[in-house]
């Protein structure tokens, strides 16, 4: 028997890169690539401050464009620049906390893995976390990155205060009370307003979570999705392409003792073999094979501190497209995506992801204005993602989908303006804080009509 964790661990097969390209860019500085390897830049230089004073001095002493970078986990070209990269790695760590108010302030470059660990050590816990723990807090906030849960916001929705350095080196301390518009714009702002130096999060007392994984027919899972999304703290599906099944994950608080053994390499390898066997046959012929395997998936449980259940490493690299559609049309949209993949025999074995996120009022949040259903499609980093992404992106548009800012999409200013009521307000604010457009690259110019 196999379980869902084995499945997901092995579902992106190892990517194999050649070593033919030179390690050093044309500028003489190290080139930059994103996590999946699909994006590359040859920056003129890199700024790696260890303090706000160092960042301010560096911003004032450089000319040309600037782009902040966290851990490089965005698949959309938010970072590439021929100017200077502003690296947040040295602006990390827990800076302050309040165990009565349950807030904690971190350096903007703190990785999410460190956020969970640091909160645990001071007697706090995150309200929620995205499922990958390698991103920096600044990167996750900037792109509206989220976890799962109908009662839980994206990470941006848990922010209570920000310190933002504008391109002239001045620092803005931003809270909803101090400037509600600036706060709601900055909480999801793709590094277009300035450079985050500190981020304060709303937290809570430590808690333990129990995750239960099982396989279920996708139509059965969708039929009960609304009820289970309201019943569980976290509930999501991982629909298997070219099959009738999904892996189903529910997570709830528990007082039960920790029980979270790691997968052995042998367990991961065994399922990898199954995945490779699927890829060896035409997509149209896979359904009986995958259905048969899915029926053998035994339910499994894991129990641990919240941050260890919610967020983990994804070793195998991939590229991803994700759109958030209104909750009420989520299931219909997902069905159309799955049907399209099957009908067009798109050769993908990587499971989709389907989940709800609570609505908020942040200007550029995918969840602005109401609860949304987030639907993700993936290709391994070694594969050409275009046949899949090109086929499904128009389906997301049809259902009013908003693209995840850090994931691949093809929308520009005109389309985005129609999706976000405060989009032009954000563009105006961006111009006021960065009138010379130093924080823009080609991608951001396209997004913001700059």
């Amino acid at each position: 028997m196999i379980n869902r964790r084995q499945f997901l661990a092995a579902s992106s097969l190892a990517a194999f890169y050649g070593s033919g390209s030179p390690a050093f860019g044309q500028s003489g500085s190290l080139p930059w690539r994103n996590w999946s390897g699909g994006l590359r830049a040859d920056p003129a230089g890199r700024i790696a401050p260890a303090s706000e004073a160092e960042l301010a001095a560096a911003l004032r002493s450089t000319n040309g464009s600037l782009r902040p970078v966290g851990s490089g986990h965005s698949f959309s070209p938010l970072v590439p620049t021929d100017g200077h990269l502003v690296i947040l790695d040295r602006l990390g760590g827990l800076r302050d906390h309040d165990n009565d108010a349950f807030t904690a302030t971190f350096g903007a470059g703190t990785r999410l893995s460190e956020v969970g660990r640091a909160l645990f050590e001071i007697g706090q816990a995150p309200l929620n976390l995205p499922d990958i723990d390698r991103q920096t807090l600044a990167g996750a906030i900037s792109t509206g990155t989220h976890g799962t849960g109908l009662t839980l916001h994206s990470l941006s929705g848990d922010v209570t205060a920000l310190r933002l350095m504008t391109v002239d080196g001045s620092v803005l301390e931003i809270t909803e009370a101090s400037d509600a518009d600036l706060f709601k714009a900055a909480c999801v702002s793709v590094g277009a307003l300035g450079i985050f130096t500190e981020i304060t999060l709303k937290t809570r007392a430590p808690y333990r979570l129990k995750a239960i994984n099982r396989a279920q027919r996708t139509e059965d899972a969708l039929a009960e999705f609304e009820a289970r999304a309201e019943q569980h703290r976290h509930f999501e599906l991982f629909p298997l392409t070219h099959s009738d099944f999904s892996l189903v994950l529910s997570i709830d608080e528990t007082e039960e003792p920790v029980n979270n053994p790691p997968l052995s390499p042998e367990e991961e390898a065994a399922f990898g073999e199954a995945m490779r066997s699927w890829m060896a046959i035409p997509p149209a012929e896979r359904r009986p094979l995958i259905n048969g395997l899915a029926e053998q998936i035994a339910p499994s449980e894991s129990i641990d501190a919240a941050h260890r259940i919610l967020s983990n490493v994804r070793s195998n690299r991939f590229n991803e497209m994700e759109y958030a559609v209104p909750r009420e049309v989520g299931a219909q949209c997902l069905r159309e995506v799955l049907d399209t993949i099957a009908r067009e025999e798109i050769d993908v074995v990587f499971p989709l992801e389907y989940r709800y996120v609570r609505g908020d009022d942040l200007w550029l949040s995918m969840d602005e204005g109401g609860d949304r259903a987030a639907i993700s499609v993936h290709r391994t980093a070694m594969e050409d993602y275009r046949p899949l992404f090109d086929a499904v992106e128009p389906i997301f548009w049809k259902y009013g989908g908003r693209p995840h800012w850090g994931k691949i999409h093809s929308l520009g200013y005109a389309e985005l303006k129609a999706l976000y009521p405060r989009f032009d307000d954000f563009c105006d604010l961006r111009r006021s804080l960065d009138p010379d457009g130093r924080l823009l690259n080609d991608h951001l110019r396209r997004l913001f009509n700059a």
């Binding site: 890169y17 390690a23 003489g28 500085s29 890199r46 790695d89 390499p265 070793s315």
Partner: protein, 130 residues
């Protein structure tokens, strides 16, 4: 205790030590780098590399994410058998793989502020060739 257990414990203790040293070094003075052309003319010769306080910090926040527990098949710190075939490829090749990414290792190994000299020092440190 088994050998893997010993290695893991050693790595975790080292990680704690590195973090402490990094914290201590943070008060020592400015560490901003604004680099324009960072490729050294000649990388340090094998066996002569030393980890600076900044390298220790880089190790703790970047390399250690995967090279302590072997995430994604990463060779574990100090596992000579795992590192030997990699080191045999030569430092230039290892540096190239680090910058470009290889298999499950992402480009730059999560160390966005590492210069080529930092990578060489960190490779030597993890592979035990320093």
């Amino acid at each position: 205790m088994s050998r893997p257990g010993l290695l893991s414990l050693t790595a975790l203790l080292l990680l704690a030590a590195c973090t402490q040293e990094a914290n201590d070094s943070a008060a020592a003075g400015p560490s901003t780098t604004v680099t324009e052309a960072s490729m050294p003319d000649t990388p340090p010769a094998p066996g002569t590399g030393e980890l600076t306080p900044l390298n220790m910090e880089q190790w703790a926040r970047s390399c250690a994410l995967c090279h302590v527990r072997g995430e994604g098949g990463a060779p574990v710190l100090g596992d000579a058998a795992a590192w030997a075939p990699r080191l045999a490829q030569g430092e230039e090749m290892l540096l190239n793989h680090t910058v470009e990414g290889l298999n499950n290792m992402p480009p730059l190994g999560y160390c966005m502020d590492c210069e080529s000299g930092d990578f060489v020092a960190l490779i030597r440190f993890m592979g035990g060739s320093r």
